[in-house]
Amino acid sequence: MSSSSPVDSFRGAAVLTLLGLLVLRWAVALHSYSGEKRPPMYGDYEAQRHWMEVTHNLPVGEWYFNTTENDLMYWGLDYPPLTAYHSKVCGFAASLIDKSFVALKASRGFESYHHKLFMRWTVILSDLVVLIPSVWLYFAKRLWSADDASLVWIFLVLSHPGLLLIDHGHFQYNGVSIGLTIAAVAALLRKRNLLCSALFVLALNFKQMSLYYALPFFFYLLGTSLQGGIARGIPKVGAIGMVVLATFTIIWLPFVTQLSQLKQVLHRLFPIARGIFEDKVSNIWCALNVVYKIKNSFSNEDMAVVCLVSTLVVVIPSSLNLLFRPHPQKFVYSLINSSLAFFLFSFQVHEKSILLAAIPVSLILPTDPFISMWFTAISSFSMLPLLLKDGLLIPTIALILFHIVATTLMVNVLPSTREKSLIVSDQSSSILWWWAAFFVSMIGCVILTLSSIFVKPPNNLPDLFPLLISVYSCLHFIIFLLYFNYKQMSLPGVCLKSLSEKNLSQAQGADILNKHAACDVHVTNSSIFFPEVVDESNGCGGQFSVTLVSDKFEGKSRLQRHQLVHSILAEELKVIHAFSQKTLTPEQWETQKTQ
């Protein structure tokens, strides 16, 4: 093993990242899980174990039915088939280790040292197989290598406090569905539309909550497919539709044989009767419930319609924006907007569902580290009542602090981001304001945390602090929703490709390039301008030769200049197949002009 070549030092850094992630995971896993030693219903841990028991022992046809062997009132299966298959695999493994882990009916409420060990290993392995590779795919430029910066992003995203605590502490398999979604996003950004749709369908079939992302995926795929004209787009859309249908069919194969099966499964997946929210959730309805008791005036069915309409109203602007101006960065923002809107407005929301919004937010760490860090902290904080109940207070505090410290440290240190401070704006006074706001918000969190630990609530308001926490977080989420919507709208959603198709003049092309550069934070305060943009592609939009002039090139070799330009235009260069550039400093440009 040699050590000095860049490849090897990269390999070492990657190994270190992976080991760090595993240590964090295992450290959380040492703590208690939901419902530990709390009969008769226990918690999510028991639910997962029970599903393993049911799927391992009963034939497929009975998984979703109430039979003598399968009591749906005791943690009946209410996730789509892929979860059930996953449980079956885990249940099979469990039966190999110890039959009593999954003995039908006899194993209810089974808890033991080795069983906990087994369950913790299953989550870690699921993470290793699905989540970590997909985040890697998202950030790494190539399949087998990544620079230091992307390793940092990978580490920060995967050490998301909420995800770690819910998956490895509270106990669930969110990492799988989120990992599949991220893999779908990565595939989409690499223009593998078919692969993306298949992966997203898989995510959808692991947890129906992935529906939160369905609209952005749909509109982005539609938008990019139809970009070259409707006639050219329809076969592409058809192909995507076929892939989606085929994936669905394969997964649902055992259930589509009988109509009653299908209906029962769907009924289990979307339980209207369970009410508008579970426990105390930091969404609009729970906050509204403080002043106006919704249950008294609306039935569950009415409320479901109200929720649907309000969610759609909030999601539509970002979706339409994505449809008409599809752009990769917009797409990621739209994922946030959609999932956050669903969390705030939709029906039957769990407090854990905030993870679905929090993970896409952490994907924008490279462009917007400050807001992302803030959102991560608040989203993890919003789950505090749940984590407190599970006895996970200490890891919660430790992980949130760790995440904040790690983000600030690493972002300030990274060479690629050193120029852009933690905040997008370059004025020092506004940085101060941002930090002040952040600290005020964090102090609120600290006060609420301390009071919910130490202060005993009054007798007539036993849920005072959970409610306060959810309202406090809800306010944050509403502001974040507005901010992310604004961010999405303000991005110029024009790809270079569409530029040539509309046969723009050179001047307009340069204008768009300029705008693009302006929105890119790297070059905000330097003056790149484009004296010449020549489209050599005869209208297909794949060939450009550009002359770039900037004072940023001062004192850099030609290679470094080219690298700088490439790093800025990385996204666009995937579409373009020929891009020749002349990079000049202002002096060189002057002398060239005079010649």
């Binding site: 093993m1 040699s2 050590s3 000095s4 030092s9 070492g12 850094a13 190994v15 270190l16 080991l19 760090g20 595993l22 240590v23 295992w26 450290a27 896993a29 040492l30 208690s32 530990e36 030693k37 009969p39 008769p40 219903m41 022992n57 009963l58 034939p59 497929v60 046809g61 003598t68 062997e69 039959k99 003995a103 040292y113 080795h114 906990k116 060990l117 194969l253 055992p254 589509v256 044989t257 200490i394 240190v413």
Partner: protein, 767 residues
């Protein structure tokens, strides 16, 4: 589709009939017979696993299908099944069932089309009803000789979904019906056409045994009505919880965490209790627990201050008689106290890094790199030391705090601030007396450099005499002595000093700890053991009683082949081993790095030859060596080898399945980081060959990689081979033996390196 179903279904069928073979609800109600009886009547069992506990109870059987109009428990039914052979009736599944005995229905087909009648029998299994007198055939009745004896009217069944319809009681016309609820919550059938309720006939409750419930005469063997009454209210509790609530028993047990705690938790809790609740005089005489206070007085004071905070967490832990008390608050407090005491370690690290960063010990192009400058690396290597994590935060001790103070004293001496260095070291000695092992290095260095300020480096003893500065010597002595007086003074005054010293220096323990620390004696013991086994094999030695030395639990054992070791010998060996290094230190004044090297060698010598050395003492070598490792290449090599082996040798401290991953991960993180960055720092362009680890030669690499098979053997192979009963301590012996080889190698190499170094091999940047 059938294939997938079959693949996913478990190959042994569940022991109850599939839906198409089940007996319908109405039939069961009518029968009023035990369900088990009906099941048994309807199936033929070919094979069944014998009674008793079976993991997979199995049964091979076939169910008889419902063929005709006869009830499943009757003989005629059996006849029908036999006659029908393989016939599989097709039954259209219905969503709702509306037809009951006694209902008035109209026939919609056949010769009786339009006639109304009363439902006589319901056969839900095949969607049939039989209407009295309608849709009937006239059959001939014959006797045995086939002689006609009469005619009988035999009704044929009618399909409910197409051949009959219920009659609306209002206009007596056939109608469609649906199920609905009355305001009282009763479920009723309602005519879709007129909305009238179609009442249930009283005959619908008729069964095999009685016409109506009221007329039923109770039998002697029937279950009495009062026995059927529900006398309990269901609760969301287990049986045990309900009983406990009934009897007012409150469960105040603390559920055990799934990871185990070491005895050191109890040790330190006991010390907290002693210092908190007893006067100073009794601190060293109290002996309720077996874990008596055996650290010097300053540490007792440290525990006392902790106990002042501890009472806010859980006052119960401060009661001496509360042995093995471990509430979650206690654990939390103890863990937090270690974490906060580690701030001292962080401060010590900072001081050392400051020295490394500012003194210009060595030229390097990386001084300004934020993450890969030597000082940054030192910081990460010290703070991320895997051994400290394992010993302090998982196993539980306050080593981080103590090493922090040692680092402060080292930093002070490196910076030339000898007095405060001596002060901090005196404090350290009074916190834990194991540091007396490294005191000679401090003593020699301070004496030579502080008390003989102007002496030239090559001065003879006579010349030195003239340079002796009494003033400086008194300063130094006063500093150190004052610390000792503050610490031991109160006990001197109270005439308790004898007890204190007894507690501090117990020589009752054996040569090696239960788990042999990887030092010279581990090798010695191993050799002795192997020798005695070989001797017994060839009958050279007579079988002795202490042959079970691998038992390891025995703290004191006699060597059977090699001579036994007394404390005096170990002391002598330790002294001999550190003498050359001390001489060298004396002869090369003015070089603080030599002091650090000598410190490392003193720790090493005492670790190698000391009496009853704990495996944790390896950190006493590794931590000072870290400071040198980021400066000189040779020391980096020794550090890589020694830290990897040393941390590995700490593995047996944690042995549960939950701690296994975390100790391995911490170990790997530290090792990978150290190898990666140290080799990067010393700008290794080419490794010796592609098969060696960076900075190490081939043998050392092979040795380190050999840890992997050793680990795998202990974790996987050893439990599989079933040696656990015969040789339970084999893995421990292997680990300590293997690690002892590495540690000894490092010791010899480093000693050789130090002795050969020039006296002032210590480049300073010209200021």
């Amino acid at each position: 589709m059938r294939l997938t179903l079959r693949l996913l279904r478990r190959w042994n069928r569940p022991p109850y009939p599939p839906p198409e073979y089940q007996i319908a609800e109405l039939t069961k109600k009518y029968a009023n017979l035990p369900e088990k009886y009906m099941e048994a009547n309807r199936k033929t069992v070919y094979h069944r696993t014998p009674r008793g506990i079976n993991y997979l109870p199995r049964e091979r059987h076939i169910f008889k299908n419902y063929i005709g109009v006869h009830r499943p428990w009757s003989n005629e039914h059996n006849q029908e099944v036999t006659d029908a052979d393989e016939f599989q009736p097709y039954v259209n599944p219905l969503r709702d069932w509306f037809f009951f005995r006694g209902d008035r229905v109209q026939v919609l087909t056949g010769k009786d089309n339009g006639k109304q009648g009363i439902v006589e029998m319901v056969i839900q299994e095949r969607n049939w009803v039989i209407v009295r007198g309608l849709n009937a055939d006239i059959t001939e009745q014959k006797d045995e000789d086939n002689k006609l004896i009469g005619y009988a009217l035999e009704e044929r069944p009618l399909l409910v979904n197409e051949q009959v319809a219920l009659v609306d009681p209002g206009d007596l016309m056939p109608t469609e019906v649906e199920w609905s609820w009355t305001e009282e919550g009763e479920k009723v059938r309602v005519s879709k056409r007129t909305g009238r309720i179609i009442p249930m006939s009283r005959r619908s409750e008729e069964t095999f045994q009685y016409k109506s419930r009221e007329t039923y005469a109770e039998n002697e063997k029937d279950t009495k009505k009062q026995d059927m009454e529900m006398t309990f209210a269901p609760k969301l509790m287990t049986f045990e919880m309900e009983i406990a609530e009934e009897l007012g028993i409150e469960d105040d047990r603390i559920p055990k965490k799934t990871y185990c705690r070491s005895t050191d938790f109890e040790v330190h809790r006991n010390w907290l209790a002693i210092t908190h609740s007893l006067p100073i005089k009794q601190w060293y005489t109290e002996a309720t627990s077996e874990w008596t206070l055996d650290y010097p007085p300053l540490f007792a004071w440290f525990e006392y201050f902790l106990s002042l905070i501890a009472q806010f967490f859980d006052p119960k832990m401060l009661i001496i008689s509360n042995l093995n008390y471990a509430s979650s608050e206690t654990i939390l407090f103890q863990r937090l106290s270690v974490i906060f005491a580690d701030l001292v370690f962080a401060y010590g690290t900072k001081e050392c890094c400051k020295y490394v960063a500012n003194s210009g010990l060595r030229k390097s192009s990386r001084w300004n790199c934020r993450w890969s400058s030597p000082s940054a690396m030192l910081q990460l290597l010290l703070l991320g030391n895997a051994g400290l994590f394992i010993v302090d935060h998982i196993h539980f001790q306050y080593n981080g705090f103590l090493y922090g103070i040692q680092l402060i004293s080292i930093a002070k001496i490196l910076q030339g601030n000898y007095l405060s260095g001596a002060f901090w070291f005196a404090v350290l000695l009074n916190l834990k007396h194991i540091y007396a092992y490294v005191a000679p290095a401090y003593f020699v260095y301070l004496l030579r450099n502080h008390c003989f300020p102007q002496a030239p480096s090559n001065a003879s003893f006579k010349d030195l005499h003239s340079h002796f500065s009494m003033k400086r010597f008194t300063e130094l002595a006063c500093t150190v002595l004052s610390v000792f007086i503050i610490s031991f003074g109160p006990f001197l005054v109270m005439n308790e000093i004898g007890n204190v010293l007894n507690r501090l220096f117990p020589f009752k323990r054996g040569l090696s700890h239960a788990y042999w620390a990887p030092n010279f004696w581990a090798l010695y013991n191993t050799a002795d053991k192997l020798g005695s086994v070989a001797g017994q094999q060839y009958n050279l030695l007579k079988k002795s009683s202490n042959a079970s030395m691998t038992g390891g639990l025995v703290q004191e054992f006699e060597h059977s082949l090699l001579p036994s070791i007394s404390p005096r010998i170990t002391f002598l060996l330790t002294l001999i081993s550190i003498m050359p290094a001390l001489m060298k230190l004396w002869l090369s004044p003015g070089n603080p790095l030599h002091f650090l090297r000598c410190l490392v060698l003193c720790a090493c010598g005492s670790f190698m030859f000391g009496w009853h050395v704990h495996e944790k003492a390896i950190l006493m070598i590794i931590i000072p060596l870290t400071v040198l490792a980021v400066v000189w290449r040779r020391e980096a090599q020794i550090y890589l080898l020694l830290s990897t082996v040393g941390h590995y040798s700490l593995f047996p401290l944690l042995f549960t399945a939950f701690e296994l991953p975390i100790k391995v991960l911490l170990f790997l993180i530290h090792a990978v980081y150290a190898f990666l960055n140290l080799s990067h720092l010393f700008a290794l362009d080419k490794p010796a060959s592609s098969w060696t680890l960076p900075l190490l030669n081939r043998i050392e690499s092979v040795y380190l990689v050999g840890l992997l098979p050793l680990f795998l053997f202990e974790q996987l192979l050893f439990p599989c081979l079933g040696l656990k009963d015969r040789l339970p301590f084999l893995p421990l012996m292997l680990t300590s033996g293997y690690c002892a080889l590495g540690v000894t190698y490092c010791f010899v190499q480093y000693y050789w390196h130090f002795m050969r170094m020039s006296d002032s091999n210590h480049k300073r940047k010209t200021h």
